[in-house]
Subunit: 229 residues, 2 copies
DNA sequence: AACAAAAAGCATACCCGGTTCAGATCCGAA
DNA sequence: TTCGGATCTGAACCGGGTATGCTTTTTGTT
């Protein structure tokens, strides 16, 4: 009963098998397209049974869309004192854009981007991931403006029938929706540029500009924007 | 070759069959849940073959999610001169909220809302519809600030290498994303209230408030919002 | 070293949404 | 009445995903 970190031969093999499945799948998808490859083929090519594959990945989508969600909720929850959620997010994405891209496996990333953007099913899956992230962010924002859940103390405000249970904080949900919509649009634009052949460095530079533009829109609103004519 | 509206016995039967299928499906879903009803059952209960059902509705989802998308792009495209897209949308939703709800089949609507909000699959479908609408709105917004495609006239601004080929108009896409995110959040909140048992009139009143709050956030940004502490 | 429990993998059969295909049926016009 | 095209239909099929019951491997213990 030792509390060693225990690389455990078992868990190492699991990790390794998982990686092998994902790599094989990505290669096949890149060759022939997501919809033209069956999970049976993937399982066979990875030397594993179909049921085993599904024990590693809950669905075919997840073979590709495994780590697409970045965790905005955590960034909001873990921000410093006195800094607004929006400022924390802006700082985070600024830093992310400025980070060195040397350590990334750019080739694999681009392959993933190409595979995803070529498949309606996967694009739908991405939208789904975005929606999930939006809900998490909404919860984090609600918690941010309500430090310790006053939600379970309705007696103190029971005498306020004019504001009947402001549901789960509409303002927080709208903010979350606008923020995730903005960030995901930035991501999509960035990946679209990459998929279209723009070199990474240039796409990164463009992204840096876009981050500022997008967060300015979030902070200051659209009232300075011209419609037309 | 008459251009009469042509009630045509045939087309009438088609319409009628379509309605019957949708009604039967909704009833079964309401009774036992979306996932617990198979399309075979629906087809049998509606007195029709499975393949016929799929000739009317392209997927099981569509039996419920048929007219969920309202057409923001059309509202933007058809707005009066001198009015911004955002103002047009705000006016539209104000009017929609203020409209009399007498003519609606409230009972059927509520059933639909309950069925949808009880099924993850259908909720995902709703997200998908939102995503589609967002893309349409993005195109409409881009067209709005670029009345007749100036895309093929870069000569006038050719001396501005600092802004290289602003891709497919990022600002329009961010605006579209923020606007659809806002409106869909309003819809979700409204339906959540209804599903939770709030009477229609009261939910309508709350929605009217929410519309103003949400569009204010869109117009003026989040910079006046407090984070916490 | 031997062993039993737990964990992982496997083959198979099954369910369900969705499609394909070759007819059967029905409507509407000539 | 008859013909052509649209519509409907049963039945087989495909692919993603699950349930079941069994073998193999890892691991901690005696």
């Amino acid at each position: 009963m030792l509390f060693v970190v225990m690389a455990g031969l078992r868990e190492r093999k699991k990790e390794q098998t998982r990686r092998r499945i994902a790599e094989v799948a990505l290669r096949l998808f890149a060759e022939r397209g997501f919809d033209a490859v069956t999970v049976n083929e993937i399982a066979e090519a990875a030397g594993v049974a179909k049921v085993t594959l599904f024990s590693y990945f809950p669905s075919k989508d997840c073979l590709v869309l495994d780590g697409v969600k970045d965790d905005m909720a955590r960034i909001v929850a873990g921000r410093g004192p006195g800094v607004t959620p929006l400022a924390a997010l802006r700082a985070h994405y600024r830093a992310l854009v400025a980070a060195d891209t040397e350590e990334l496996d750019v080739e694999a990333l681009m392959t993933r981007v190409r595979v995803i953007s070529a498949s309606p099913a996967l694009l739908a899956g991405v939208q789904q991931a975005y929606a999930e992230e939006r809900e998490e962010l909404a919860a984090a924002l609600a918690a941010a403006r309500d430090p310790d859940g006053t939600a379970q103390a309705p007696e103190t405000t029971a005498r306020a029938p004019e504001r009947p249970a402001r549901c789960p904080d509409l303002a927080a949900r709208v903010m979350a929706a606008q923020i995730t919509a903005t960030v995901t649009t930035l991501q999509e634009t960035f990946f679209a540029r990459l998929a279209a052949g723009t070199p990474l460095a240039e796409a990164g530079r463009a992204l840096a500009e876009d981050v500022e533009l997008a967060f300015d829109l979030l902070e200051h609103g659209h009232d300075t924007e011209r419609g037309t004519s």
